[in-house]
């Protein structure tokens, strides 16, 4: 093999331990890949020197026999995770020059495990978006191209990688990093994983610390891993997860070894098929792939059970009250006084108003406006309280369903990736991208996307598994079985050499 960029994390760790190759060689290849893949605009900030320094330290530890769990693995970090001494923008102009003096807990956990971070990845501004087109640092391009009439040539339409973790998904799919961090508030890990043919896990709310992750909607935000295999995601999650005294919502629960879900049979596992995820207008290819996924799991010994989640259709409007409400509170901190952009103004109020007008993009402003309105005097009960009550019903639906089954199987996204120029202009239409991912977010449940096949247009499609609260292991067990049956080996058009 002339390049190491096609290795999985598990393969690289094995190679390091066997002294087949060294972290510094592997990381050097990934730095070359970073340069080659620059046209995709995956990174906001590249950190090759830090990556090489980390790799040299990893070389020494392997030589000394003191290697750490993910020693020498080249990863990339979503630019929503604060990184000590490295600019962290959250994809926003308002944080254009923000250099944190601390590291996020998840980032520190990975550094303590020996990883080499290649840089900070592009994302939708403050993680608000489903296509990575709201970033102040430009669109991210998916490495995939459609086949057929439009051709797979490099001049064919540029596609979105999904969002908000678009840079994370695109760089991992393009073999520029072995894995990446992401965050998922309403689908921001699972939907881009589906669009780019890789695996992404949103853990149970509270599994990974939110400390040092720029906040969007605090009751929903959850960090998680992207990688090209279920095993690699489990390895990353082992390191990312854990109780953190600095995040009062981080779960006081022991972190299990998530790889225990791998390589097990699924005989007798009860897989629930939620009937409300098949609305009349569902894309027929996605519907067929979902049936195929259920058949694969049945053939592997699982029992397929139809279940009902009656409040599914209300999850999306509920989310678009709760998430903007929390966003408007969280983003109140960007006032131009203590950090971030400060604009001129005739008085203090004008400084605030101009700072926020210049610093925030359109989607962020829109969500702050909605959030401010639904929390304002006279409307709080009608919107915000009402949404919290519906959220309780959505969570209750899952509780009922999980009395009959162990894991749910559903599509991840309602379509394949769309083109930069084909994006919906109506915000509500864009929000529908997350129709299948938001319900599990509202209930705080673990969920993941596994690549299951290609659509007729040559683009990947993922299937989603949703687990019981803090039962990622059973979800991973089903995901590994699905991965094995699907045998997804397709690769994107644009890849590191």
């Amino acid at each position: 093999m002339t390049t190491f960029t096609h290795l999985t994390i598990a393969q690289a760790l094995k190679g390091y331990r066997n002294k087949d190759f060294k972290p510094s060689e592997v990381v050097a290849d990934h730095i070359k890949a970073t340069e080659q893949l620059r046209p995709l605009n995956c990174y906001i900030t590249e950190t090759p020197e830090q990556a090489l320094a980390a790799a040299k330290a990893s070389d020494a530890r392997y030589a000394a026999g003191t290697a750490l769990p993910l020693d020498g693995i080249p990863l990339a970090n979503k630019d929503l995770f604060c990184s000590k001494g490295i600019r962290t923008t959250a994809g926003s102009k308002i944080l254009e020059n923000f250099v944190p003096t601390y590291e996020s807990t998840v980032g520190q956990n990975l550094l303590d495990a020996g990883v080499a971070f290649l840089g900070k990845l592009n994302l939708d501004e403050f993680a608000m978006g489903s296509a990575n087109i709201t970033s102040a640092y430009g669109y991210v391009e998916s490495p995939w191209k459609r086949t057929g009439a439009e051709g797979a040539g490099h001049n064919s339409p540029k596609l979105v990688p999904g969002g908000s973790s678009g840079g994370s998904a695109a760089i991992v799919a393009a073999r520029g990093a072995m894995g990446a961090t992401g965050t998922d508030t309403g689908g921001s890990i699972r939907q881009p994983a589906s669009f780019t043919g890789i695996v992404g896990i949103k853990p149970t709310y509270g599994r990974c610390s939110r400390w040092g992750v720029v906040a969007f909607a605090s009751s929903l935000d959850q960090p998680g891993p992207f990688a090209r295999t279920v095993e690699d995601c489990a390895l990353m999650l082992n390191t990312m997860a854990g109780e953190d005294p600095k995040d009062s919502t981080s779960a006081r629960i022991e972190t299990p070894d998530f790889t225990r879900g791998l390589g097990q049979d699924i005989k007798g596992l009860r897989i629930g098929i939620p009937r409300e995820y098949r609305p009349s207008g569902l894309n027929s290819e996605i519907s067929a792939l979902w049936d195929k996924g259920a058949a694969w799991l049945r053939d592997a010994g699982a029992e397929i059970i139809e279940v009902s989640l009656p409040h599914t259709e209300y999850a999306l409007p509920t989310y678009y009250i709760i998430a903007p409400a929390e966003c408007s509170s969280n983003l109140a901190r960007y006032d131009g006084m203590r950090y971030g952009l400060r604009a001129e103004g005739k008085d203090l109020t004008a400084v605030y108003e101009n700072t926020r007008a210049q610093g925030f993009g359109r989607e962020v402003k829109r969500r702050i406006m909605i959030g401010t309105y639904v929390l304002s005097a006279g409307y709080y009960d009608a919107y915000y309280r009402k949404a919290q009550r519906v959220r309780a019903l959505i969570a209750r639906d899952f509780d009922e369903a999980f009395k009959k089954c162990d894991v749910l199987l559903a599509p991840t996204a309602p379509s394949t990736a769309f083109g930069w120029e084909e994006k919906p202009t109506d915000p509500v239409e864009m929000y529908l991208n997350d129709a299948f991912t938001i319900p599990a977010s509202m209930a705080g449940l673990p969920a993941m996307s596994v690549p299951a096949g290609l659509a007729a247009n040559g683009l990947p499609l993922g299937l989603q598994l949703i687990g019981k609260s803090f039962d990622e292991i059973t979800m991973i067990r089903a995901a590994a079985a699905l991965e094995a049956a699907a045998g997804f080996t397709a690769t994107p058009t644009i890849m590191a050499a």
């Binding site: 250099v99 003096t101 409007p317 108003e353 926020r356 406006m369 401010t372 009402k386 519906v390 969570a395």
Partner: protein
């Protein structure tokens, strides 16, 4: 329900976001589109349902009331637009 342009301007003021008059019609239309769509929640019967505030289902932990950090004023002001002697410098508030 639908918001008028003056109502949207009022919300923008509450949110401390300057919206120039020529951008107000577009913002009003977008906000009303979203509000019209989330209106469908009113159809859900939530009688007797307690609002779900957090999915973690746990009480927030308390820690001992002791100093755990400090002595890092320079770090805290390091990203400020304007500082003096480790203080934030802000626009004049009182005339």
């Amino acid at each position: 329900m639908s918001l008028s342009e003056p109502e949207v301007a009022k919300v923008a003021r509450l949110a401390r976001i300057a919206i120039p008059p020529d951008e107000l019609p577009a913002m009003t239309a977008e906000v009303n589109g979203i509000l019209g769509w989330i209106e469908k929640l009113q159809a859900v019967n939530t009688d007797g349902v307690e609002p779900l505030v957090s999915v973690s289902g746990m009480t927030l932990p308390l820690r001992e009331d002791v100093v755990t950090a400090g002595g890092c004023a320079a770090d805290i002001v390091s990203n400020a637009p304007e500082t003096m002697e480790n203080y934030f410098v802000v626009p004049k508030v009182v005339e």
